[in-house]
Amino acid sequence: MNSAGFRGIAFRQASIRFNESFSLLDIDWAFEPGQVWALLGASGSGKSALAATLAGAGELASGTLEGVVANVGWVSLEAQAALIERERLRDDSDITDEVSQGTPAGEMLDEVSKDPALQAKLIDLFRLETLLDRGFRKLSSGESRKILYTRALTSKPDMLIIDGPFEGLDAQTVPLVSDILRQASGELPVLLVINRFDELPEFVTHVALLEKGRLKTTAQTSDKPAMELIAQLLHLKNGDISIPAAIPGDCAPPLKPDEPLVNIRDASIRYTGNLVFEHLNWRIEAGQHWQLTGPNGSGKTSLLNLITGDHPQCYSNDIFVFGYQRGSGESIWDIKRHIGYVSSALQWDYRIGISCKNVIL
């Protein structure tokens, strides 16, 4: 890594078009050598879009943009989605009629790595060793984030762009990543996209606040009053969400009040030679709220998918959900009508352009 070649990036009155419905407008912004920036803003404000511009996304419609570096290490949901899409295109199972396991995670690292020593160190630090033979698409969201980090850092980038630096990472990995980024920021330009103000790492020197595709204001993190103002602005923007009422007559049938919503008994998930968990019991009663925590790869998503029916091993376990013993002749749609579910996987599995309402209903 080196920052010797970085002369700064300058946006002047730049408007950048992404699609029919979204553009960044009139951006004036200078990223000088030696600075560490974080982009802030509400969902849909354009902070990820502005970061993606530096990784080559969007189309400059007017104004100027200078100093973009060629070799960017980019960690983001979009970068992850692009790799998953590439895996899908490479999947020849329909042609060969052999179901493929996809590109192993280790190969994903080797194909971009220019720094074997750092690669070995990160594999150790992130505890990726046991995942290297597994197909990239089979990794959990946190595990694939770690792969993205390793790819970005070992490719000897001229700049690092990290969209949601701690997203999907388990508690023990967060300080490690924070350390790595602090160190990197002394050696090359680093740009972070931060979703929550309290996640702002202390080594960030400058922040920019975006709103509706425009750069609203910037501040040095050392300027306390300016930072407080930004915190307030950000809070206001996030505060006005309300949930619409249910559509009458469109509710799932009522469940028996004396039954648990979910009852999982002595469950296990295993792949050939690899046990995710076993002897798991879990009972959820109506009105309860649960939070699942655990390290990346411990099986949080797999466990949830046993409930939603998206994990195929839900049929080889003793699972009772929403009035149905799984595998007793119920259809997947009998289960799904009781569940509202949001995840990143939903986003990349749903590859068609239709309105949100259709997906939800």
Binding site: S93, D97, V99, T272
Partner: protein, 490 residues
């Protein structure tokens, strides 16, 4: 075993060939209920086998997988596919005797062996399902008379069958009942429930016959699907190189070009594919395709005749018995062609350029699709079958060529398709030699490069009318319309 089709009287042959109707969605109101509580056992855990099984189970049916003992012992990929997806796996001896419905989803060529091994294990009055009827129709396999024999064939690759289902949709599906094996009159009910279990009823189900499926499938794959693309690839590439076009560019234009131009075909038929050309290029492509149709029509007729008479199957099965001597020799030849060995250039070719520089390729697709469709319908096959086995599947093979070129495309399609493809290719190459000698890089490689894009109005109106009024366009529009849910994809 005798060719089953040839044992039938003419009127029965014609009736079977002409069977293909679009079923009313209301016929599927019972969903999977006919198969509820019954035991379904799948043989073959490849892409079709696994993905159909996942859908059927998610529809509330009881599905397990019968694998060879060696596959289980060595924990082969098929075993991993089935067990990691939470299915019960056992040997045929363990699972088949209890099965109410056995789904044979192995490759065609294994059917004789698989069926001979499985049927004796099946309980009385059970049902055997195929996804392709070659074994019954061409090989003349006789199934025990108490057993019901049906076919359910999703007209898309296995992963698409699964992805569409997960979104609550499905893929178009063909079903059929083998009338000689419907002792309890329940074949149709089982086939409908099976199709509903895979989600097929959401995208449209065609009721056909084993015979119509086999004869149209063979015709499509030998001519337009594999044969025309193979012959076209070799001719277009060699012509470009002979005329001084960079071989890396030529190889890429051909390999990726089929996929790009047939993507337009998939969305809006031949009309849309032709509309992607400039007006002068469209007139050029039209003239070329008319000429190609005149030259190639006798070849298409010969393929159809040999398929109908059984001569094709007989010849191929002789080669099977001879350790695939011809097939393997032809496959090797394909691997040694200049096109196959050429290295593609790295740089991207813009999407529109595939049309502008590939006018001849567009003409070949148009000629091949229309000829295959015309020949099939003239032989008594219904337009619906003819559409699926020509236009609908062309993009799938084009996609395979885009990933794998010709050698691997041939290796991975069924041996039946591959054998037919070579027969076509060997006959078509010399047939088009004279035509190709008059071809230059304006229609393949460089594009027209006209200063003026003007055309004669009357001529354009005539050509547009001729393209749009071809029967494959009318039926195509109807069938694509039925796939209303799928239409929103991409």
């Amino acid at each position: 075993m005798a060719n089953y089709f040839n044992t039938l009287p003419l009127r029965e042959q014609l009736a079977q060939l002409g069977k293909c109707e679009f079923m009313d969605p209301a016929e599927f109101s019972d969903g999977v209920s006919y198969l509820k509580g019954k035991k379904l056992v799948v043989i073959g855990c490849g892409s079709q086998g696994l993905n159909q099984g996942l859908n059927l189970r998610d529809s509330g049916l009881d599905v397990s997988y019968a694998l060879r003992e060696s596959a289980i012992r060595d924990q082969r990929q098929s075993w991993k596919n089935a067990t990691e997806n939470g299915f019960t796996v056992g040997t045929p001896e363990e699972l088949i005797p209890d099965a109410d419905l056995v789904l044979n989803l192995t490759p065609d060529k294994q059917h004789s062996g698989v069926v001979a091994g499985v049927v004796p294990l099946m309980k009385k009055n059970a049902c055997l399902a195929y996804s392709h009827g070659f074994n019954i129709v061409e090989e003349g396999m006789q199934i025990r008379p108490d057993i019901t024999v049906i076919m359910v064939a999703p007209k898309c690759p296995g992963t698409e069958v699964r992805e569409e289902y997960k979104r609550g949709f499905g893929v178009p599906t063909l079903i059929a009942v083998h009338e000689d094996n419907d002792p309890h009159g329940e074949g149709l009910a089982i086939a409908k429930a099976y199709a509903a279990g895979t989600g097929g009823h959401k995208a449209g189900v065609l009721m056909s016959s084993f015979i119509a499926e086999v004869k149209s499938d063979l015709m499509g794959e030998q001519t337009i699907l594999c044969g025309m693309l193979q012959t076209g690839s070799l001719l277009c590439f060699d012509k470009m190189v002979a005329k001084g076009v960079d071989s890396g560019y030529a190889a890429k234009l051909v390999q990726m070009g089929w996929e790009t131009v047939t993507e337009a075909l998939k969305h809006g038929g031949i009309t849309n594919m032709m509309d992607r050309l400039s007006n002068p290029a469209k007139l050029e492509a039209y003239d070329l395709s008319e000429e190609l149709k005149t030259i190639m029509r006798p070849l298409y007729n010969k393929h159809m005749d040999d398929i109908m008479s059984g001569a094709f199957s007989t010849g191929m099965m002789e080669d099977w018995a001879n350790d695939d001597a011809k097939l393997l020799a032809w496959r090797k030849e394909t691997g040694e062609t200049a096109f196959e060995k050429a290295q593609n250039i790295d740089q991207d070719i813009p999407e529109q350029e595939y049309f502008d520089h590939g006018i001849l390729m567009v003409a070949m697709i148009k000629a091949g699709v229309e000829l295959a469709f015309e020949t099939m319908t003239a032989a008594g096959i219904k337009e619906e079958s003819a559409y699926y086995e020509s236009l609908h599947e062309t993009p799938l093979i084009a996609n395979t060529i885009a990933r794998k070129k010709l050698f691997e495309m041939n290796r991975t399609i069924s041996d039946t398709a591959e054998y037919g493809c070579y027969l076509y290719n060997h006959a078509c190459l010399p047939l088009l030699a004279d035509f190709m000698s008059r071809i230059d890089t304006d229609v393949i490689g460089h594009g027209l490069k006209l200063a003026d894009n003007g055309v004669d109005n009357q001529q354009l109106i005539e050509v547009n009318k001729s393209i749009r009024s071809h029967p494959v366009e009318a039926i195509g529009q109807t069938l694509r319309g039925y796939m209303s849910a799928m239409k929103r994809i991409n």
